[in-house]
């Protein structure tokens, strides 16, 4: 059964959401989109159905938010709620149905970006947490972290400074460079705080994109394998009441000894973890 951060929306059933919800978070320019664009075909090649989604992509509010941003005319409370509308529309109509159908859902940003942006704008941290208490707890949050000094050249030499990415609504009167620096630094600090609270897995995004991709692949693989392994084990009638000291035997494989006819005479052969466990396999995850 899946969990939310506290509240469940009317009509939303949390059982049988068998898919995986994987979040890629990070400040603007950290390379989230690039990585998702690589993760998706890779996962599909492995045979997983993938839904990729991200902020302002809802049919309901996406267009409205884009238009409001063009006018540079969006107050901080309105902004938070408009994004929340977009998020909930995608949560109810895309993310949850996809998880129910067993998809791997890759989401470019999740509630954490919205939280960071609101908090940097002086909004009440508790208010924004309560607002997003209806969100599903994801299976993993990969936080692509990049320092401000590495970020700036990326932005300058690609798309240039943008009004909202520079937080011009937060620091009116500063020039775009100064504003970008202050705003993105504040966001980064907020992300760092959130990373502790919400158990982000931090990935150094200042590294080469290939290296970041390799790290993400390993992490995603671990989530997917941990899951299939769990199913495998439950089908294997392993002893359930084994004491903690004998945990290795919980993963034993049932093998009838040669020459024995009945189940009672069979023994459980402990299986060495390094032989059968997939890479990154952590027995404690099964507890």
């Amino acid at each position: 059964m899946r969990k939310t951060y506290g509240k469940t929306l009317p009509g939303m059933k949390l059982t049988d959401l068998a898919g995986k919800l994987i979040v890629v978070e990070g400040t603007d320019g950290a390379g989230r989109t690039t990585q998702i664009n690589r993760l998706k075909p890779w996962l599909e090649e492995l045979g997983h159905a993938v839904l990729d989604t991200g902020m302002t992509r809802s049919p309901l509010a996406g267009e409205g938010i884009r238009r409001a941003k063009e006018g540079n005319n969006l107050g901080r409370v309105t902004q938070s709620l408009f994004y929340a509308t977009d998020f909930v529309d995608r949560l109810e109509n895309e993310i949850v149905p996809a998880l129910r159908a067993g998809f791997v859902v890759l989401t470019d940003r999740y509630i954490y970006s919205m939280m960071a942006r609101a908090i940097v704008r002086g909004m009440d941290a508790e208010w924004i947490r309560k607002l997003f208490s209806l969100a599903l707890v994801p299976d993993a949050v990969f936080y692509l972290r990049i320092g401000i000094d590495e970020l700036i050249p990326r932005v300058i030499f690609s798309r240039g400074f943008d009004y909202w990415e520079s937080g011009m609504d937060v620091f009116p009167g500063k020039d775009m460079y100064e504003s970008f620096r202050s705003y993105q630094s504040a966001l980064l600090a907020e992300f760092d705080r959130l990373s502790v609270e919400f158990n982000f897995e931090t990935v150094d995004a200042s590294a080469d994109a290939d290296i970041v991709f390799a790290q993400l692949k390993a992490k995603v693989q671990r989530i997917l394998e941990a899951d299939s392994r769990k199913d495998f084990i439950t089908t294997l009638r392993a002893p359930t009441a084994a004491p903690a000291a004998h945990r290795v035997e919980e993963r034993a494989v049932f093998i009838p000894r040669a020459g024995t006819a009945t189940e009672t005479e069979a023994v459980f052969h402990p299986v060495a973890a390094h032989v059968t466990a997939p890479m990154g396999w952590d027995p404690n995850r099964q507890k």
Partner: protein, 250 residues
């Protein structure tokens, strides 16, 4: 800080929180706004809009600068609401899109006007959202927390009317019910009139609960219009007299 392995967390000079550029939502509550905020609530057909219009006329005749703010009227959110009302809203997105609209009006008009010392009149306020959203199955506390940023009204008038009276007035005034207004998204009944009755019944029950919770000022909406208006003006007057710097009409 849990940083994972082999991950370099950059220089920590950035970990200073930035200076707050605006007061937090809670701080604003304690601000003494010079303006006055009168709002009317009640189910459809309670006559609240009529009463608010009459209050507006009276305020103008007394020389006060009074400004209307309608429920669900922000130009910024209008197109999205219109899109959503083509039956693609769930109770949660219905709630959020109305909250977004209300936030835009609070930030751009209600709050600045109150700061400037105007009398602001709202036809429906956060209590409409509380009643409707809870009637749609939204968590009562969640929606109250959601609207935490709203300015507390000077007086919240609740026009209390029995369901049958309200329905009688509406049936006489128009033909047919709108999809969301009748709560047809909830599947309470296939018959719009019956669905309307059931949905408005739920809303009415929520209003009743909110009277003590928020100290709503109850006006008996079965009384003659003139009697109700006399009560409304009497109450409004006491709050206007105590105000120090209200704007006058130019």
């Amino acid at each position: 800080m849990s940083t994972g392995n082999q991950v370099r967390i950059g220089p920590f000079e950035i970990l200073q929180p930035i200076e707050r550029v605006a007061p937090s939502l809670r701080e604003r509550e304690n601000e003494n706004l010079p303006g006055r905020l009168f709002i009317v609530e009640g189910i459809d057909g309670s006559g609240k809009s009529t009463q608010l219009t009459l209050l507006h006329k009276w305020l103008e005749s007394k020389g006060y600068g009074a400004v209307f703010s309608e429920w669900n009227s922000s130009p910024l959110v209008k197109d999205t609401t219109k899109l959503g009302k083509k039956k693609m809203l769930t109770p949660a997105t219905f709630s959020l899109i109305h909250a977004t609209d209300f936030a835009d009006r609070t930030e751009k008009s209600i709050l600045p006007l109150l700061k400037a010392g105007a009398v602001v009149l709202c036809d429906r306020y956060i209590y409409t959202a509380f009643a409707r959203d809870v009637a749609r199955g939204i968590d009562r506390q969640w929606v109250r927390d959601l609207y935490d940023f709203a300015v507390t009204p000077t007086v919240a008038f609740y026009f209390r009317v029995p369901l049958e009276t309200a329905i009688g007035r509406l049936v006489a005034a128009r033909d047919g019910f709108k999809f969301y207004e009748a709560g047809l998204d909830l599947g309470l009944s296939d018959d719009p009139a019956e669905s309307f009755r059931l949905f408005q019944g739920r809303i009415l029950a929520e209003y009743e609960r909110m009277i003590p919770e928020f100290g709503l000022t109850v006006i008996d909406a079965t009384l003659p219009v003139e009697v109700q208006q006399a009560q409304v003006r009497q109450i409004a007057k006491t709050h206007l007299e105590r105000a120090k710097e209200l704007r006058v009409r130019p």
